[in-house]
């Protein structure tokens, strides 16, 4: 068993699983806050794309990876703020705003990329994060390569799982978020500002989705390409359903998706008679299957998707 697990192919597979899980896990972790507070964050995909693009540009210009990561997170927070402006302050339909924001960012990143880098043939690149090996721990079979032979953002992401967990279940902020998402009128009566809580949740959601996006360009690839999230923000929404909006659940669900994604990447190189497109479809079909199995069972926060107006009776 140990020899199987220390096989380089298996180790590479486990590493890849985590690498592919990380962006959707980060976006989904932020999505927990947004949805628990009662706001559907359809804009996760665009938020990731913004983080991915801004992170890449800043690192390209400064040569500093961490500056890029921070800029990507801030870009994500900015998108979160725009969403909050509409979904919280104006009380617009959250789905319409989210979809419009996603389309806007696809166009904006594509336009700005051409503005900054021109339309030359050479693909601009940055040197992506090198794996940071925690030597003693990375030799542990199975969880060694999965957890401890990874780029620094992965450790950051893993640390965020218990942090979000504790924040949601053990702090007054977490309880306020839950109150706002379940019964905003009652929360408001108790002196909790529904709008402020939702605004903060969307900002944090933006920060985390931006981090997930920056991971794509700065850690997983070192390049930016048009629409590079390829629907990962929507997959993150399905991860939220599968993980029941719980940080641990989201973590496990994201790893499952990462493992499936890594499997399709490996599968494309195997000659087993299936066209490569069948493998490319796999994560999307898996997402649909997950929804078939779990969407009906999930219990949504009672106020999910419903705009709140303080001075207006329901």
């Amino acid at each position: 068993m140990t020899s199987f697990l220390s096989d380089p192919v298996v180790q590479g597979y486990l590493e890849a699983s985590m690498r592919l899980a990380m962006p959707i896990m980060l976006a989904a972790l932020g999505g927990i806050l947004a949805e628990r507070a009662g706001v559907l964050n359809i804009a996760l995909d665009g938020t990731m794309l913004a983080g991915s693009f801004v992170g890449f540009v800043i690192t390209y210009l400064t040569g500093n990876l961490w500056l890029g990561v921070i800029a990507g997170m801030l870009a994500g927070a900015l998108v979160g703020a725009v969403l909050a402006l509409y979904a919280v302050l104006i009380g617009s339909n959250q789905v319409v705003v989210g979809v419009a924001i996603n389309l806007l960012i696809v166009g904006a990143t594509s336009f700005l990329y051409r503005t900054i880098f021109g339309v030359g043939t050479a693909q601009p690149r940055v040197t992506s994060f090198a794996p940071l090996e925690l030597t003693a721990l990375s030799d542990i079979p199975l969880i060694g390569p999965l957890l401890f032979h990874q780029a620094p953002i992965v450790y950051l992401g893993l640390a965020l799982v218990p942090i979000v967990w504790i924040a949601m279940t053990r702090t007054s902020f977490g309880w306020q978020v839950a109150a706002v998402g379940e019964h905003p009128e009652a929360a408001e009566t108790l002196g909790i500002s529904v709008m402020r809580t939702r605004f903060i949740c969307l900002l944090i959601s933006g920060l985390l989705a931006g981090l997930g996006g920056a991971f794509l360009s700065l850690s997983a690839t070192g390049i930016f390409i048009d629409n590079m999230t390829a629907g990962r923000g929507y997959i993150a929404l399905a991860i939220l359903v599968l993980g029941r909006r719980h940080p641990l659940g989201v973590f496990v669900a994201a790893i499952l998706f990462g493992a499936a994604d890594a499997l399709q990447l490996r599968g494309q190189n195997l000659d087993i008679g299936l066209p490569y497109q069948a493998f490319l479809m796999f994560p999307y079909i898996l997402t649909i299957l997950v929804l078939i199995l779990f969407a009906g069972k999930a219990r949504n926060p009672a106020a999910l998707g419903i705009p709140f107006h303080r001075d207006r009776p329901k």
Binding site: L89, L237, L291, L293
Partner: protein, 360 residues
């Protein structure tokens, strides 16, 4: 009760949010002009002159008979995807996957033409159109079934099915359906019977434009002058009320998905029989996504959709000229299109800010 999940409630809420907008075209026009102004700022940032750029854009869109014909040609798929999203929206569903249904529809039409090449045009074209509508309806109906049966949000499933559709089509065009020469991911040129006659000589505008106008009139009629349209709209506004009134909400919701998919499939067949004359891998530069914005700008009314589609068609066609003449990347149009919606739905903010100012 699965119909009454959050997205249904949402789209119903969205509809009522859009109701005030239905009065007059002023807000849509204002939003469009604001978005153009924002685009001008981006052109300056890019390092260009917005006046020359927009002049090139207008010239490319409406400057000659040929450019007008190109704009009308481009409005065909945008009208169909816009109608697709609008009909779904009216029935309480958010179809963000018209892009995938378009691809499936276009492919189905091409398969029919390759299978029955000897058929005369008057038989082949209707068959291709029927195949495209059927295939598009099937693809959207899958999402509808997943929503009604399993409570899976169509927001996610239609997007996921779009990726599946595009990879499926890619496989077919690189495998069983690939041209005999075997170079490009496309089918062989379709038989001459599988073509629309041109509408204005020496331009690419084809008879499909008349089909488009007829479909707009037909959907307008169906929505506002038939029992089905009435029930569909009631379901979209308030599914609970519709249910209480004894309407078969599930069936109505499903019919919204099917009609929506059929319309998106029509967008695909129009591109195949009218423009490409074969099925190709990059049939659509995002018509399905632009259709969402067309539907919203057109305030989910078929005539509004037509006007919005013409506007965006001009924008897209003109942008190509703008890129060639002034160098400004044509992707600017994607930004302008999305900003139109954000400005449109941001309208209540003006009132809120005014109220806040008065209070302080």
């Amino acid at each position: 009760m699965t119909v009454l999940d959050t997205t249904t409630k949402n789209t119903a809420a969205a509809y009522s949010a859009f109701r005030p907008l239905l009065q007059g075209i002023l807000p849509s026009t204002a939003a469009f002009l604001l978005a153009l102004a924002a685009g001008a700022i981006l052109i300056v940032f890019w390092g260009g002159n917005p006046v020359t750029a927009y002049a090139a854009l207008a010239d490319g869109a409406f400057g000659s008979w040929n450019s007008i014909a190109e704009t009308l040609l481009r409005s065909i798929p945008l009208t169909f995807t816009g109608l697709a999203v609008a009909i779904a929206f009216r029935g309480g569903a958010f179809n963000v996957g018209a892009e995938g249904q378009l691809y499936i529809g276009g492919t189905a039409a091409a398969v029919v033409a390759l299978w029955l090449p000897a058929l005369p045009s008057y038989l082949l074209l209707p068959l291709m159109i029927a195949a495209a509508m059927g295939a598009g309806a099937l693809w959207a109906g899958l999402a509808g079934m997943l929503k009604l049966r399993f409570g899976a949000s169509e927001l996610i499933t239609t997007i996921m099915l779009t990726y599946v559709a595009i990879y499926l089509v890619s496989y077919l065009l690189r495998g069983p359906l690939q041209e005999a020469a075997g170079y490009l991911p496309q089918t062989d040129r379709l038989p001459s019977g599988a073509r629309f006659a041109s509408l204005i000589t020496s331009t690419r505008l084809h008879m499909g434009f008349l089909v488009t106008l007829a479909t707009v009139a037909l959907t307008q009629f169906l929505l506002w002058r038939t029992v089905w349209g009435y029930r569909l709209r009631v379901t979209g506004i308030n599914a609970r009320a519709a249910m209480a009134a004894g309407m078969a909400v599930g069936g109505l919701s499903m019919s919204a998905f099917l009609t929506s998919g059929a319309l998106a499939g029509l967008a695909g067949v129009m591109e195949v029989v009218g423009v490409q004359h074969r099925m190709i891998e990059n049939l659509s530069p995002g018509f399905g996504y632009t259709g969402i914005i067309v539907a919203l700008l057109g305030q989910t009314s078929p005539f509004g959709v037509l006007i919005a589609a013409l506007l965006f068609a001009g924008l897209q066609v003109g942008a190509t000229t703008m890129e060639a003449a002034a160098g400004v990347p044509a992707t600017l149009t994607v930004i302008i299109q999305a900003l139109v919606v954000l400005f449109l739905i941001g309208r209540p903010a003006i009132g809120q800010i005014a109220r806040a100012l008065r209070r302080s």
